[in-house]
Subunit: 381 residues, 2 copies
Amino acid sequence: MLNGLSKRIERLSASPIRDMLTEIQRPGMVSFAGGLPAASNLPDFNGSIERGALQYGPSEGELALREHIASDLCKQGLNADASRIIILSGSQQGIDLVAKLTIDEGTPVAVESPTYLAALQTFSLFGAHFLPFDVDAIDTAFTKEKPALLYVNPTFRNPDSVVYDTAQRQRLAKVCEALNTIVFEDDPYRELVYETCERTPVCAALQRSQWVYQSSFSKTMAPGLRLGYLACSAELYTPLIRLKQAADLHSNRLSQQLVLQLLQDRSNVDRVTALREDYRHRRDHFNELLHRHFAGLATWQRPQGGLFFWLRLHTNHPIDTRELLPKALAAGVAFMPGESFFCDARQAASAIRLNFSHTDECDVEAALEKLADIIRTAVYR
Amino acid sequence: MLNGLSKRIERLSASPIRDMLTEIQRPGMVSFAGGLPAASNLPDFNGSIERGALQYGPSEGELALREHIASDLCKQGLNADASRIIILSGSQQGIDLVAKLTIDEGTPVAVESPTYLAALQTFSLFGAHFLPFDVDAIDTAFTKEKPALLYVNPTFRNPDSVVYDTAQRQRLAKVCEALNTIVFEDDPYRELVYETCERTPVCAALQRSQWVYQSSFSKTMAPGLRLGYLACSAELYTPLIRLKQAADLHSNRLSQQLVLQLLQDRSNVDRVTALREDYRHRRDHFNELLHRHFAGLATWQRPQGGLFFWLRLHTNHPIDTRELLPKALAAGVAFMPGESFFCDARQAASAIRLNFSHTDECDVEAALEKLADIIRTAVYR
């Protein structure tokens, strides 16, 4: 039994059918094992979908897609071949699987402050005891309690788009190695880069610690396809694939086919380049409008990548930004209150998260102006 | 707090964004809240996919699909409108969600014996303490320990294709009402019916107990699309939708679109009728071959629906059928050992499960003959 895994992993068993799958698919094998529909009874959807995508598939995902991902990860410095990659039904599923893998009631889990809210929610559901850390003070952060798991989003962190430099990444890896903590690196935004900056996965520097690295196809392709993937250290693969089986057997095959086709399409590199250009332009436009309407009201950094501006409001008294939301919604503007991104909402420091990628450019200014008015009223009440 | 829910549900929080989603989608709303890609940056997949299917969607699933399901459930006697239906990424996900909803370490969970192996695995992962029951002796089954959850597959049960008659369904419902046990009814095979028999959901008879009913599109449509659904009593909806959010945000929108199109297609009724005819024919052919090769070797019932024959081997000494599997695989035949379908493998009584829906008819006989030889050798060794 590996260090740092949850008690439930002792009760995790393999699926006999899923384990037999490779053997069953051997040419000439007659299988009475699974509960598969006859191929001839699969609907043809007017011929728009390849039959192979309609039948049950492997829990780990399609091999060709996993090979493509492995080769991409290798270029990033992360050495994980296809045999250590699992296709996910979106990267939220990876959070669920890693929580199941590592968290019992009271398990110490190190998290950034702020960090991705849906990770906090899922870890909390499983009973995590949070240890918030700041990467610049991480050397002395865990002297009292040692985290079993450390969750980190080092590249264009959600919500504040912070990106760790080389030294910060090295420090993080070193501390986790020393503590033998499992590192869970969540990296959905890495392709959305607008300025040159360090993006090498922290996991690439790990020699001894167990790790899970995950990313998503939602940000550069399409969220509705619900597809992501994880790579992990060798010892974590078997429990993770069994947890995947128990969660949804396997991910949608049609999405896997579509994503692979797109990845293999020679025009895809240009498409992603254009997407980056577009988001860079949207970011700059948004930034300009923020300067016009939020100067004096808030402080922010122009993000080097990702999808968000993080505004710290200038206020003498701390404001719970959740209380501003009903007013904003009534005025026709939605934003994300900052409180949800902290395991302790009291640390939230009157911040809000604003997405710049989705709203049509012509609609941004009027909405920002309304939002600034609402905030101004709350601050100077 | 409802009776019978797990401790983790006290820690279950809503996703602020997911909760805002309805408001955000109001016409005229400008949303800086989510992390949505710009619509114009979604790939067009050569125009084969509607743009709407590519963006993030509602956690509960597409309304039109949920309405279609609600109307279908109503015809079956189950009164659950669209507001109590959640689209699942396959019905295995429903098992995961209900386990999270109800099971802590040591929670008593009543299960049939035999029952669906992947339910046993997932419940066991969460720490279930199993109370196996026989529906005909259920009146006195829970005198010592009261189950918090009862999992049942009353129509063409996996693995043995048993179907409960009216009296058995009523007895089950009555006992669960008396114990105030949450009923989890798993019903993936109901459409695969070859002889007239009782198929009214057990949940339709419940007045007081909480319940979750689930089914799948894998058996009548296509497993690779990974789509199922659940309906539940009103009080369980909010925790279940939050658990769904934490598991994968929402299910694949493209699959939902394809399934809805197929359900709305006027030719679909004929397609399902033809599929039933085909499986009825396959069943009868399989049954005939079993009589030819397994007479004297095993006992079985011809299933009235579903996808499986369940063979109890005639043996003087109990056989662990898992030990026969390597020999069978080496001979080119796969089957499911019966042991996995029991929470206590010692109750397995030398049984095996054989699927009749998938293998080409011309390949069935030779494979059954090989399997019979392997079993004969093991039995008369």
